[in-house]
Point group: C2
Chain length 192, copies 2
């Protein structure tokens, strides 16, 4: 019973990598059509692998979801800097809120899952806050500094507000969420 030498790790097996890619791609596709509540079996089948394999790569449902959305979360957070560079402070903030609402809205079931308190989603939620919070804080601070927005707004309140609105699933009438977010943005304005 000898101890495994620490260095010189065995390379990742090719089939494992292939299956992982297939799973991520399948999950992405399934989540778009069926929402994140889709059965894991559906993802495994679409990827052409067994359920056991899926669970080997993603010990929990939430891990799969996290893996799929991590990249998109990053993209959304990164958009903040671009908007800040191209627009006046208040408009940048308002536009990013819209962008973020759309992101959440198109991830059917993501936000409710995230906010469900389920400990399984802790990782994803942590990543979310780690990336999204700085983004909105930067925009908000800039808008406040410019005198366009009242100074007593909590960045977390904003994240949560827009997340909630985006995830409400009310897509019955086009533009509804956008209108509400705009209303909210108006509420942020500094009153003379």
């Amino acid at each position: 019973m000898d101890v495994k030498p620490a260095g010189k790790e065995r390379r990742v097996r090719a089939d494992a990598q292939r299956n992982l890619d297939a799973l991520l791609q399948a999950a992405k596709a399934v989540f778009v059509t069926s929402g994140v509540d889709a059965p894991v079996r559906e993802v495994a089948e679409k990827a052409g692998v067994g359920i056991g394999t899926l669970y080997r790569h993603f010990p929990q449902r939430a891990d799969l979801i996290a893996a799929v959305f991590r990249r998109e979360i990053d993209a959304c957070a990164d958009a903040a800097a671009v908007l800040a560079a191209e627009h006046p402070p208040f408009e940048a903030l308002a536009l990013w809120m819209q962008r973020y609402a759309v992101f959440v809205a198109t991830k059917k079931g993501l936000a409710p899952a995230l906010h469900s308190g389920d400990t399984a989603f802790c990782t994803l939620r942590a990543h979310f806050e780690e990336r999204v919070r700085p983004a909105i804080k930067m925009l908000l601070d800039a808008a406040v500094a410019a005198g366009a927005v009242r100074p007593d707004v909590d960045p977390d309140d904003l994240i949560i507000a827009v997340s909630s609105l985006g995830s409400s699933g009310y897509t019955d009438k086009p533009g509804r969420v956008a209108r509400i977010v705009a209303l909210l943005a108006d509420g942020l304005r500094a009153h003379p």
Copy 2:
């Protein structure tokens, strides 16, 4: 095979009535502690009846939920008239929004279920809209007429906005939802 004479319906059986009451009471208690996602078996057990009995009275989970909350929905809608009588138009609207947000927030899982698109919740949602919409419309119209609120706000947008916020489940910090709702109310104000 004779047709049952239409008149003179057999009275509701006493045990049936008793069980129905027990179920409603048990469900109410369980929903408070475990949210509306609680297993139906838990409700049946607490009521001291079999699952079959529960399903006889409430063919679907959603029917049970609907029955439990119908009364509370009514109470919340009725509060609108009281607030309108006791406060200026804008304050009445803002207060009712807060009242409504609290109502939704204390019904863990209600709003997500309502907005899930699940057809099982159609009845409850219909009742919801039938009672709540007139309430908010009345308050909104009054505030607009008084010149306190911009005239381009859709009542449905408001219902949905507050529902979404209240149901987000973010109870991590006290007053968060209240602050956000207040922010939203500010966005409604008429700009000179």
